[in-house]
């Protein structure tokens, strides 16, 4: 287990017989209590297909049923029942092309990091930009890994901190807004591939913003979690 941030933890799995996965896919985890009660939820894979182990990064939701168990209770040596990999659309590999724009809200960065690690592992020359929105610097998951991807593998990483930022912060302050999208998105006139992952309000705002800027909706893939509040 690796504690990533106060609210998230990465779980490194030993999966004999794992068939491999594509960057962006997820697994379904099933927990069983002693009386037979079961709960199932889905979690994105944060590791690339080329990595040695399958890694799930889980954010603890305050009112969650499964995430608090995975983040607070599970310990090395425990067994987990899971099914996967699952998902055929929110995936990226080089044959799908680019240039790539990846936009993450909170723990939505997990499947996008898998895509960036995969891109690095196959030494793809496809240009990639990541915009990653978090509440504060301490909530940024994979910070070191992303810094390395930025340096070594020519990924343009933009952090947007929405609630708190350090003194002298030169990244984006506040939510990912239309102005930021205009700066970081690839020019709408040419084809590009965009993946947006995060809470549904975030995804709605970003996807809608990009479409308003002239991007083809068909080139935008979304993965959402959470309620609309309506």
């Amino acid at each position: 287990m690796v504690t990533e941030t106060p609210r998230t933890r990465s779980i490194v799995l030993d999966l004999p017989g794992w068939p491999g996965h594509r960057a962006g896919q997820h697994v379904d985890i099933r927990l069983t209590a002693e009386d037979g009660y079961q709960a199932q939820r889905s979690y994105s894979i944060g590791s690339a297909p080329e990595d040695d182990h399958v890694v799930l990064t889980v954010e603890r939701l305050d009112d969650g049923e499964v995430s608090p168990y995975l983040v607070d209770v599970l310990r090395p040596g425990d067994k987990l029942e899971l099914r996967g990999p699952i998902g055929g659309y929110f995936v990226w590999e080089e044959s799908l092309g680019g240039p790539l724009l990846l936009v993450a809200g909170g723990s939505g960065v997990v499947p996008l990091r898998a895509m960036l690690r995969h891109r690095a592992a196959v030494r793809s020359g496809i240009p990639a930009r990541l915009v990653y929105s978090s509440r504060s610097l301490e909530d940024v998951i994979y910070r070191d890994d992303l810094a390395q991807l930025a340096d070594d593998d020519a990924v343009d990483v933009t952090f947007a901190l929405t609630r708190a930022w350090p003194e002298g912060w030169t990244g984006h302050r506040g939510r990912v807004d239309r102005k930021l999208l205009e700066e970081v998105a690839w020019p709408p006139v040419a084809p590009s591939l965009t993946y947006i992952c995060g809470p549904t309000g975030f995804v709605e705002a970003v996807a809608g913003g990009l479409v308003e800027l002239g991007h083809d909706p068909a080139g935008i893939r979304t993965e959402r979690f959470g309620a609309s509040g309506r």
């Binding site: 209590a33 049923e65 425990d78 029942e81 699952i86 549904t200 909706p217 935008i220 979304t222 609309s228």
Partner: protein, 201 residues
Amino acid sequence: MSFISRGFSGRRRDDADSARIPPGQYVTSDFPVLSAGPTPHTPLDEWTFTLRGAVDEPVSWTWEEFKSLPSQTTTVDIHCVTKWSKLDTTWTGVSVDTLLDGVETSAEYILAFSDGGYTTNVPLEDVTGGKAWVAYAFGDEPLHPEHGGPARLLVPHLYFWKSAKWVRGLELRSDDQPGFWETYGYHNYGDPWQEQRYAGD
């Protein structure tokens, strides 16, 4: 084959509800939004609903005409393949039986098609006989775009990806044509009570 997850006790459910919850699902009071891409926004004066395919000729309604059709209000439980279930949801719309009234067809399947390119396939007998609607209101309000407005297909006895958001029509077919999620690894039929989530289940 499952085993006990050390230290897991879970959140107990009200017994009265548990018979209504298909295997592997949990009840939410929220209304989660999931989609493959951006939310389409078709202006109502450009919106039409069309029956096409295995019919003598296509039948089409404008928004005004569609809203003038006899409507029904129904309260149903809905089940998403991503594990959440929402009980007692109330929808208003036009029954698919009403839309097919007077339409002669030898079709055995439908392929629903939506703005943005989404499709999903359902056997004709699963959208007739009072089992499906094209819904344009949720609760007291017009259906919100994030939830599929102006109108979505509603087929509550199957996983909710079959209830195509932003639906613009039904293609009546004699053969079964897998739709969007069905070609991306999801089950062709999608019965939540048999937990038919993914292909091969």
